[in-house]
Assembly symmetry: D2
Homo-oligomer: 366 residues x 4
């Protein structure tokens, strides 16, 4: 049995790691840390984790594998010594996701605490990066929004059928905001209400743009150049060749789940005209995700509830034939495929375990 | 006092009309009809309307003014004789919204029951059509989604600052589906879940396209032609000069409210570059809606809860300066500004009453 | 117009006062105070109150009438000088509810700040105390739980049909906890969950017991003495002649509303045996509340949603004929009849205005 | 591997059985039936069960063990031939819960379809009846409300510390009403609302009374006789020696969970006086449930959310020392411990498997 530790078990991602690891056949949770709750039994902090006989410690003890669920900056600080000591780590924070420390500083407002580790960190969207994950000792676990958006868009991007002019409209349950208190997350304020936020730019935007850029086929021939699509500003110099992405997150009155509705113009001739385009695009997606245990291409628009508590991403691609637009809807549980589940999936791949170990359970529905 | 009747009071729009009329200073609800509940006291069907001493009748009686809250087709059948008898009517159904009876037949699956009345019917989005409403005897009350979307987009369209390439991503509370039963509206299925629906085309789409087309400035000079934006199909002939609109409705686990997030590319030079574009676009919107009692341009993204039970539309326009895209978020209560409230607003304008009569109450928050 | 001020408008009760006063025909809100938000426009703190052109002040200005929505202790401090200056006040806090300052100190953990005002304060459950409210300058507005429980029990208590052995099981929406932050009110924690709290004694218990004691018919003849019912402890000395009351509040995942299910054994011979008892008890209640504008005795179990946003208390009394127990279910909106609505009702009575002024609106349903 | 079938998989209890069986180490779901959905892939009826490659059949095939999740009466019809053919069955319907077919006919409105099987059926509240379950071929799986109420009350009843005068106030999530459509379960009606129902007597009442009667210690000495507690009707003859139980179910706006708050007067001298009674009663409960894998006696009031998706019953006993009343709060997931989970627990015991097989997973929280 692999001895596993969770750094900062007291947030929702940390607690979800503990929940999922409970039934992992080859890993055993032996140590959990957390600052505010240090010294308390885990069962007191989280009654649903009373199945564990663990106490929250100030620091995790001796482990074979570590997850960090600390906030950004604090996470890199905690993770760096472990990595340097040879302990493989999945970092759920944002610290190792952006390749460019300057971009990190710009979006997170602090200097990166361990820029020397960035080159060796692998962006752990397992389905798109499995080989790199295998050989890695430090995984940057993707953000919850990027996970849903990238899995929704990757097949179309890689197939070269859409122009780099993407809108991602995401609807998230409120656990995505974490366990910290805030007026917007007070039940009486959030219940019965939907709102958009971070219209000036959410921290997950650069992560989405970076990964889309990496996977976008380099324009060589007839593909529509970026500037044809982006009509403003006239110069179009700001994006530096990156796809033009508008990302709008919304807060929805539910506890778990992210639904991402993604839009992009189809390139001329990319798909057969008319209704046939719908089946054709579904075929592209089915081929792309064939054999993937945690991505399912579905024929009807998914509901986030179909993924409650499990590690699936449901993807429904279709075409708005009136406008020639690709529309893809993806659904995940933000705490599982969007955080703790994909972290364990990455651990499994890193350690050569069966990828589905500990993760093969149906969603809790209704 | 104007004697008012509600045809089909037993759905949510009908009941909401009754609720709002209770405090109308110049109108009195004297007659309500409904087929399934005929013969029952209104207080039995809706305990919250026990303030009325009315019985649900098979047909409404003698009234000075009528609202129809019947489903489509049935509504035109019921409304036609009233209109012909000279009784002014606001029809909440879709029957008189589309100008073209062929388009009606295509989307609603039946021949229009009273096509001769179509030319005299006025599309009652009051803010955009006030003068026509004033002189009308038959108002087609706008659909709930079109109301939020059109109020969000109209200032930008009329100012000529966006290309006719629009995405409307709407999130609706479940009362929008009406009071009829359906598995998707069962609490245990809808709670804790978000989903998209009608991806092949929602009935509110042709209504939105029709109204946007009517208000769109006719391209004469430097404005970007449609086909530059729409890249597929190559021919681009399908739309007949209409703006290209993708509309995706979503079901959200709340009872009331629609949030519409609208996207369109800004035309080159339409706004000052950079951050200044945000204030500039807000200025366009504030000017457009100056003096409007029921549209408020707000500086922060609105929450649907800020409109619970009242007739406001909150509009927050901004610019994604990274991509040159206009982003407008609007919030309404689908049963008030999206149905019963705007119907009363139209009645007020038709009859020369103060436009806010009976509608001037703050939202119920939280 | 009466010039009205709200002390501490920034909580839910304060904001609800402002909402309801907006349409009061004879009172005008001219001044609002609040410490944390002092200096901000009211519309910024509460977008739904943008209909007011008011700024939150550190202290309210010159008014004819004041409401205090401050927390306990702070409220008495703020209210005392106003009362002494002759300004009539309704205090929504708990400060003037308990007659005995020692009991206040025991339950609220502080010495009463103005015990000299206690004798002149009137407990403002209007339906039960209307004459005293009329002549008063200082109203202790009842707590939300006591309002629902006392209106549910009063007719039976005063009719002498139940033994003084009462259980009140209440289910409250989360706005009852106020606008302050707390983990239990975080959406992700409260959603999808019901729990009981304050099992060792909620602060509303002494208030309920005090008022029930005052209204309970003094045992003189055949009525069952208290000690026959209470079987433990054997001595039964702790209660000092007061009715034995167990009160259990619960938190329910909704924003507004309190449902109180109240149980008490019927006295022998109090009602006709068998099914007839049900109609008989309903008759007792209908007689008791005849003519009351804000209490409605209903024939079917009410839902809290039937009172959303309005000042009604719906009461459904029945008998469990298998066990000889009275069961009464009452429903209120905790922020209206349970706080701001009843406060305005009290103001109306104090000032000789029509009791329903500003309060006569149907609930917002669904 | 034991081959298992589910009769009527298309309701919530049936689907939950399939979900839980997916990870059972010694049982494999091989056959599912359902009338309306016959012929459809299970994955189409329930997207969260797409992990199964099963088609819904009109009748289940050849199995070693069967669960019936049919409605009452239909269930006995389907179960009887299986039982007679020697296939062990857990029946989730109410058909074999009441020992007396006359009582069944009275509450369910039909003659019992297989009264000859009643004597051999065992009431499967495993914790209270484990030995009988072991030897049985036909288990009547307890109702959801009785499960929470009986586990809350059993330790106190068997310890002889309470009088037989019990109130059970239960709050249920809406999945308890099943997947059938009904206006009360429409999201827009149920959301934001709490209500009581079945005040004239819920079908789970006779089940609760039957089981409490069976476990109640026969009064021999100083224990308070029933009639001293029940004060009405004077004769007290109706109950025939059974405990006096008032049971009030409530509908709460959440998908899963039942919280039961149970009240009963403590017998004189049953517990030490004052605050010490609280710890004493907790001790009684801890002893009673020592070693039970699925009942946890907790020191703080539980939330239903602490059991979401798992088979635990959390029990919090305490004493209202002001009134000498036992108050016990229990929380379960109505679809797991209240239906499918306890059914699998019973299967495990019947077949001599480890009792926790397939059921040992933490709740999904938040």
């Amino acid at each position: 049995m692999i001895k596993v530790g969770i750094i900062n078990v007291t947030g929702y991602a940390g607690a979800e790691l503990a929940r999922l690891l409970y039934n992992h056949p080859e890993a055993r949770l032996v140590s959990v840390s957390g600052r505010s709750a240090a010294g308390k039994p885990l069962a007191e902090v989280f009654p649903h984790l009373a199945c564990y006989d663990l106490t929250v410690e100030p620091e995790i003890g001796d482990v074979d594998f570590a997850f960090s669920a600390l906030p950004h900056a604090a996470s890199a600080d905690a993770v760096a010594p472990l990595v340097r000591a040879g302990v493989p780590v999945v970092d759920i924070s944002a610290d190792f996701r952006l390749k460019d420390p300057a971009e990190y500083a710009q979006w997170y407002g602090v200097e990166h605490p361990a820029p020397d580790l960035l080159p060796s960190a692998v962006y752990g969207l397992t389905e798109l990066n499995r080989e790199a994950v295998k050989g890695s000792k430090l995984i940057a676990n993707p953000g919850c929004y990027p996970t849903g958006a990238l899995l929704a868009l990757a097949p179309a991007v890689k197939a070269g059928i859409i122009a780099p002019d993407v809108i991602i409209d995401s609807k998230s349950g409120i656990s995505g905001a974490g366990r910290s208190l805030g007026l917007a997350y007070h039940f009486a304020e959030a219940d019965g209400s939907v709102s958009a936020y971070a219209l000036d730019g959410h921290r997950h935007l650069p992560e989405i743009v970076q990964e889309l850029s990496l996977m976008w086929p380099k324009a060589e021939g007839p593909a529509l150049p970026v500037q044809t699509v982006r009509v403003w500003p006239p110069e179009g110099k700001a994006q530096g060749g990156r796809p033009s992405v508008t990302f709008t997150p919304h807060l929805v009155p539910m506890t778990r789940g992210i639904l991402s509705t993604c839009y992009a113009p189809l390139l001329p001739g990319a798909l057969p005209p008319g209704e046939a385009a719908k089946e054709a695009v579904r075929e592209v997606y089915r081929d792309f995700y064939q054999g993937e245990p945690f991505v399912r291409v579905v024929d009807a628009p998914p509901a986030t509830k179909h993924t409650w508590g499990n590690n699936l991403c449901l993807v429904h691609p279709t075409v708005d034939v009136r406008t020639g637009r690709l529309v893809v809807v993806s659904a995940i549980d933000n705490l599982v495929k969007g955080a703790a589940g994909s972290a364990i999936q990455n651990m499994n791949v890193m350690l050569g375990l069966p990828e589905t170990a500990g993760l093969d359970a149906p969603a809790v529905y209704p």
